[in-house]
Symmetry: C2
């Protein structure tokens, strides 16, 4: 087996409480707290817990301060908050977060629809956010959304994405994540953007955030693994839909990712059986079936009794 | 982009009318005929149309003769029938099929549950089926099911699968397909079995049949493509479930496969938009939502109007 060169371990970031719940009907604060606390006992090392956005824009995240105050902070877990702008960054820092993700879209159209300003304006704001955060000893990860395509503009040129990412790094970003906002990535596109990044920004701490909107999520992960990427976002149960395609899937499901990786000998540190219990709870929390296949079928190691 | 070495084209076999419908509640004969006829206009070159099994075992396929008699035979399409034993092969040949697939399980336990005899007994029968078919100028493909694991036995050793496959080829089989009956394959397991096959049976016409029960289907396809495999089964809409896991997905969805391949520059000859119309009809036929993500979200090229 010499073809598939895979890393020995990867770091999974659980984004269900934020990216997942943000795209589901609102759930009670206590449910969010229980979800995050359940996740923090699975062995996952990073959880994107909340976002600090205007509650009129995204009512699902209106209780971010309360959620953060109530969760049991597991010292083995790094919790992060996503922010759309300086105001959100100030709130996240004031709440005590020391890991901030700030999002900017490679698509100008998407950025305007999302935060009502141009990509350029967001990049300027990011510079200010980074300065602010570093003063508080917090780190800032820049998430470049629509990195593999925009639901309005269609394809986004690799060079455009690389330019936006480079600008963020020049402004002092500590890490970079490419977001496949509406599941438009495919393996050859992943290869093009990742190798382009490795060429222009060889030292970057790079994460990838795939949505499974068109079923390509795990094939994209496999490609990225072969290119040496070791940081991936996923959401428990596959929580979260696609706002542009009713009924379509959201993030890749954490159980599917862990199941795939562990079977291939790529360690995640996550206890799959424990994670599946949390996924079942997540399903109850949102009140509908979640797209995770491993939640439905069970892991491949779960055999059927012969007399069944 | 030098890492992903992909073939320039692949041959997709549509198995929705057989493997799909066999695992769905029964549908009327006319619906099956319309489904097959719709598929034969999409550009797909191979369709697994029916199976000749005992109607008490699989009532869904009880009208195989009638379906076959009624469909419009597109001369550009190769139609095949799946059979479990000699009796089924005789019926398929009498009906006029000149491409027969015969299934044998690498798992003895699964083979006994499926056809009430040992793998060894099925292999002996296959020898007789091949002789019979070749006399009628028909070809026989042997499908080795549970090639990546058995729902009862768990893992199946690669050597066991290779032994069963070799026996079939020695008996004169014209082609070989490995079936991932309950979606237990992952990329490293695909690599192990495919490279093992290429080592022991370098000249075999090899096809792969993945189920997406645990979300790994397209990652498995990607791995196989990188190893040079160019024949894949898929079912329109992702028709068909998993008999061992209620609610779990069946075959990989043809639209998802075509969408992935075509975007990567791997030609299938299939018109995706036309296929999506057939998938929507398939959904009406079975009366419930099908798992195909591309059916739900549309292809990545389908953008949203800005004022939406």
């Amino acid at each position: 087996m010499t073809m598939l060169r895979l890393p020995s371990e990867v770091s999974v970031r659980e984004v269900g409480p934020r990216d997942g719940l943000q795209n589901e009907p609102p759930v009670p604060t206590e449910g969010k707290v229980a979800l995050i606390d359940g996740l923090s006992q699975t062995g996952v090392k990073r959880i994107e817990a909340v976002s600090f956005v205007h509650p009129k824009a995204i009512p699902q995240m209106g209780d971010a301060d309360e959620v953060w105050a109530k969760i049991a902070k597991n010292p083995d877990v790094r919790y992060s908050a996503l922010v759309p702008n300086s105001r959100g960054a100030e709130r996240a820092l004031a709440a005590g977060f020391r890991e901030i993700e700030v999002v900017v879209s490679a698509s100008d159209t998407h950025n305007r629809k999302n935060v009502n300003r141009s990509t350029e304006e967001s990049l300027e704001d990011i510079k200010a956010i980074i300065a602010l955060a570093h003063k508080e000893n917090a780190t800032v990860e820049v998430v470049v959304s629509t990195s593999w395509g925009c639901p309005y503009e269609g394809d986004i040129a690799v060079d455009r994405v690389l330019d936006v990412a480079s600008r963020a790094l020049e402004s002092g970003a500590d890490a970079l994540t490419y977001g496949d906002t509406t599941g438009m990535a495919t393996p050859t596109r992943v290869e093009a953007l990742v190798t382009g990044t490795q060429g222009r920004m060889p030292d970057v701490y790079l994460g990838l955030h795939f949505h499974n909107t068109r079923g390509t999520g795990l094939a994209n992960v496999l490609t990225a693994l072969q290119l040496g990427v070791t940081n991936f976002d996923a959401s428990v149960g596959g929580l979260g839909g696609c706002p542009y395609a009713p009924g379509a899937s959201g993030n890749i499901a954490t159980e599917e990712l862990v199941h795939l990786l562990e079977d291939m000998g790529v360690a995640t540190g996550i206890d799959l059986e424990r994670l599946l219990l949390v996924a079942a709870e997540a399903e109850k929390l949102v009140g509908h079936e979640l797209p995770s296949q491993v939640l439905r079928a069970g892991p491949r190691t779960r055999t059927t009794p012969l007399d069944a």
